[in-house]
């Protein structure tokens, strides 16, 4: 293997893009996110059963396809491009936590359901004072005999108001040397209250989840949770690359079609070069995100520098492209009806998730020993 997607992966990407553009165009996304649940259950059923997406990366023994992480990154790039609202990303990250930290028992309990799409899982780690949610936590686990309860508040939990199962980080006496450990909480557990949040990003439902002595089960042994953040950054970068590409497509199409002064506006260098800058940034971010995902897929130690780097590059490419797209579109890009602002909101939301570009570069500098 060298540094490219193989033909099967490219074909998978193309068919997924067709599927999403047929089945979940942006007007459908708007309708789905406006429901209480925030996604289209029938679409999710098709993504699960027809396309087998949630189980792609899961071991075959648990009902998955055993692909590794590259195919999921393609799913994220395409759902990022289409702004698809579905619990795919939430389940992917939760299942990666289960794969990495879960006991054999919890893997057997959770993964088949996730793989089939029947069990909607999500990662509930972020807190107001801890964006990455793997250190400095206030949510606390208390053991009494064999039973564990959690108390605390989690924010920005993707699909947290509807998920069947939540993988929650918490501190406490049993959290081990890093001060954080993962627990599994059922969506119908007592003491669990969850509310969908009014979010900047309109197309990704997130919830606040409050746990009040809520029963939980330790996912496995304690361990350093920071690799989860790196995985999250790498995969989020892929999603952002998809969104950046969608912005550029939108701006370019408009610049070809829109005439002012009896010329298509894309023939003016002010517009043309702005689009060119979007492609330059996209191309770099895409290379970085792809490399980060490949590194994650191989479990390479490079991930610790490459994931934050990719997240910073993708964040700056996406926020800049989304802003440029609004600018190229002019007035129409400033309306609610046009889809540009959905990307603009997603770009800024994604950039802040798990820490913004400056925070990511600080992690890079740390990892380089600067």
């Amino acid at each position: 293997m060298f540094f490219a997607y193989d033909a099967d992966q490219e074909e998978f990407r193309a068919s997924l893009r067709r599927f999403l553009s047929d089945r979940a165009p942006l007007e459908a996304v708007r309708r789905a996110t406006a429901t209480d649940r925030g996604y289209d259950v029938e679409l999710w059923r098709q993504m699960s059963t027809q396309l087998g997406l949630p189980g792609l990366h899961l071991p075959e023994e648990h009902g998955g396809s055993g692909t590794g992480l590259i195919e999921p990154s393609i799913v994220l790039e395409e759902t990022g491009r289409a702004l698809t609202s579905s619990p795919y990303a939430a389940g992917l990250l939760a299942s990666l936590a289960v794969l990495r930290f879960g006991s054999t028992q919890s893997q057997a309990d959770l993964l088949p359901g996730i793989a089939s799409g029947e069990l909607v899982a999500t990662l509930a780690t972020a807190e107001v004072g801890s964006p990455a949610g793997v250190g400095g936590l206030e949510t606390t686990a208390t053991s009494r005999g064999d039973s564990v309860t959690l108390t605390g508040t989690k924010v920005l939990v993707e699909h947290g108001h509807t998920a069947d199962v939540l993988v929650v980080s918490a501190t406490g006496a049993d959290a081990g040397p890093t001060g954080a450990r993962l627990y599994v909480v059922s969506g119908d557990a007592p003491g669990l209250s969850r509310t969908r949040s009014q979010a900047l990003d309109l197309t990704r439902p997130v919830a606040q989840v409050m746990l009040d002595a809520t029963p939980a089960v330790a996912l496995g042994e304690p361990g350093d949770l920071s690799p989860l953040v790196d995985l999250g950054c790498a995969l989020l970068s892929a999603e952002m690359v998809g969104g950046t590409a969608a912005c550029l497509d939108m701006a370019v199409a408009y610049a070809k079609d829109r005439y002012q002064f009896n010329r298509p506006i894309g023939s003016f260098q002010a517009v043309k070069h702005r689009c060119a800058d979007m492609l330059v940034a996209l191309d770099g971010a895409r290379a970085a995100a792809q490399y980060a995902v490949f590194a994650a897929d191989r479990g390479s130690p490079e991930l610790a520098t490459v994931a934050p780097l990719a997240k910073a590059e993708a964040s700056e490419a996406y926020t800049s492209a989304a802003g440029s797209t609004v600018q190229v579109l002019g007035g129409i890009g400033f309306t609610w009806e046009h889809d540009a602002h959905l990307y603009f909101r997603r770009a800024w939301a994604d950039a802040a998730l798990l820490g913004g570009p400056a925070a990511q570069r600080a992690r890079v500098a740390d990892a380089l020993g600067l």
């Binding site: 972020a126 920005l156 009896n262 002019g330 007035g331 890009g333 309306t335 800024w348």
Partner: protein, 423 residues
């Protein structure tokens, strides 16, 4: 350094301060400090107070019911109102009093002045502006809305867009094409049109933050009297350009005041989040301060020129670039300071921002997110940044224009565009 305003202006400033102290509510912090459901009532009441104290049409000569203030007095008044966060009138007044009123005073007939000025001042008529069209944005002279004489009336067909406060207005001044055989800038007429007639329909446009502050206005065989032309028929482009100049200069110094208030809010936000010791944030905050100071210094220069009798000109393109790009930069910094807080922002909805929050608005994450979203418009409306850079390059620096593809009769341009679009 305190730049010296003339003593008479400083004396006037004291009077304005006294007026504001006397008439604003005791706990006044700005419109943003009022509960949302009290704002409209306050506006109505406040406009009445302003009218009673000759502080409404401050730029009009007294003979037309204005305050007859000198330029420097107008500036001082605007500054003190901005510092106090007090509005200078209703949302329609900037169009009725500021734009149309001054245009009529300079270019209107005696009949037009006698008819319209009192109605504008009393609030009996509420005006809006009909310039932009879906196909005429940056290329404003490419308007297609037509006006054709039918006996003693113009018959108007077409569509205007981005009409702010259009839903609150009952009259519109607009540009219409009256000679499609002339080159594009030469066949346009400036018309006054009543909106309460069957041929006029107003539809709100919802902006990206979810608020309806602008409108589309549709004309279907709408009518206005033949005499409702300002300036000459087919000379409307010149009238529209002249209009742009009438209010400039007065606001030279208020931008900096309003951005200063915003920056104070941002400093407070950064302090609350404990980020002023972060060297990156600290550097960016000092940079923001520098930009606002540059606006203040440039405002003082512009005002000095205005007081020396120079008309404001194309250098306003520089101001537009500076403030509109700064507005994006400082709100992006606010987003960085907020971090994940911006994703589920707490606070009250602002009710919709044209540019920045009203004074007195709470310093909440949601107020910042809405300011951040609103800031995207500044580089688009009233001449996009691309257009401003063309003006700076061509008018201020004398650089050559691009090859033009839009000379010749407008009718042919419109036809060629249609065939290109098909092709």
């Amino acid at each position: 350094m305190d730049v010296d305003y003339p003593p008479s202006a400083q004396e006037f400033r004291s009077r304005v301060k006294a007026f504001l102290g006397e008439h604003l509510p005791a706990d006044w912090t700005g419109m943003g400090g009022l509960p949302e459901d009290e704002r409209e009532a306050f506006r109505v009441q406040w406009r009445r107070t302003l009218g009673e104290h000759s502080m409404l049409a401050v730029s009009w000569p007294e003979q037309y019911g204005g305050a007859g203030l000198s330029l420097v007095e107008q500036v001082v008044l605007a500054e003190e109102f901005a510092l106090a966060g007090a509005p200078q009138g209703s949302e329609n007044d900037s169009f009725g009093i500021g734009m149309l009123g001054n245009t009529l005073i300079h270019l209107g007939t005696e009949e037009q002045k006698a008819h319209y000025l009192p109605k504008i001042l009393s609030g009996e008529q509420r005006w809006c502006q009909g310039y932009s069209e879906p196909e005429a944005g940056s290329d404003l002279a490419g308007i297609r809305t037509s006006a054709v004489l039918d006996g003693d009336e113009w018959v108007i067909n077409g569509q205007k867009t981005w009409t702010s406060a259009g839903h609150l207005a009952d009259h519109i001044f607009l540009l219409a094409r009256t000679d499609a055989d002339a080159p594009k800038h030469r066949g346009i007429t400036f018309l006054l049109v009543p909106m309460e007639q069957p041929g006029v329909e107003v539809r709100p446009i919802r902006n990206l933050a979810g608020y309806s502050l602008f409108n589309e206005v549709f004309f279907t065989d709408a009518r206005t009297a033949r005499s409702e032309v300002v300036g000459e028929v087919n000379d409307g482009w010149r009238v529209a350009m002249a209009l742009l100049g009438f209010e400039r200069g007065v606001t030279a110094t208020t931008d900096a005041i309003r951005f200063r208030a915003e920056l104070d809010r941002l400093f407070a936000l950064a302090r609350e989040r404990g980020l002023t010791s972060d060297a990156r944030v600290r550097d960016r905050l000092a940079w923001c301060h520098s930009r606002v100071e540059v606006m203040r210094f440039r405002g003082l220069q512009a005002l000095t020129r205005s007081l020396a009798g120079q008309r404001p000109g194309p250098e306003s393109a520089i101001s537009k670039i500076i403030w509109s790009e700064y507005a994006q930069a400082y709100t992006e910094l606010a987003m960085e300071i907020l971090g994940p807080e911006a994703l589920v922002p707490s606070g009250q909805r602002t009710g919709g921002l044209l540019q920045m929050p009203e004074a007195g608005t709470e310093n909440s994450p949601l107020s910042w997110v809405e300011t951040f979203l609103a800031a995207r418009a500044g580089t688009i409306y009233a001449g996009s940044s691309q257009i401003q850079r063309n003006i700076i390059g061509e008018v201020l620096l004398g650089l050559p224009k691009e090859p033009r593809l839009d000379a010749g009769p407008f009718r042919e341009l419109a036809a060629s565009r249609s065939s290109q679009a098909r092709g």
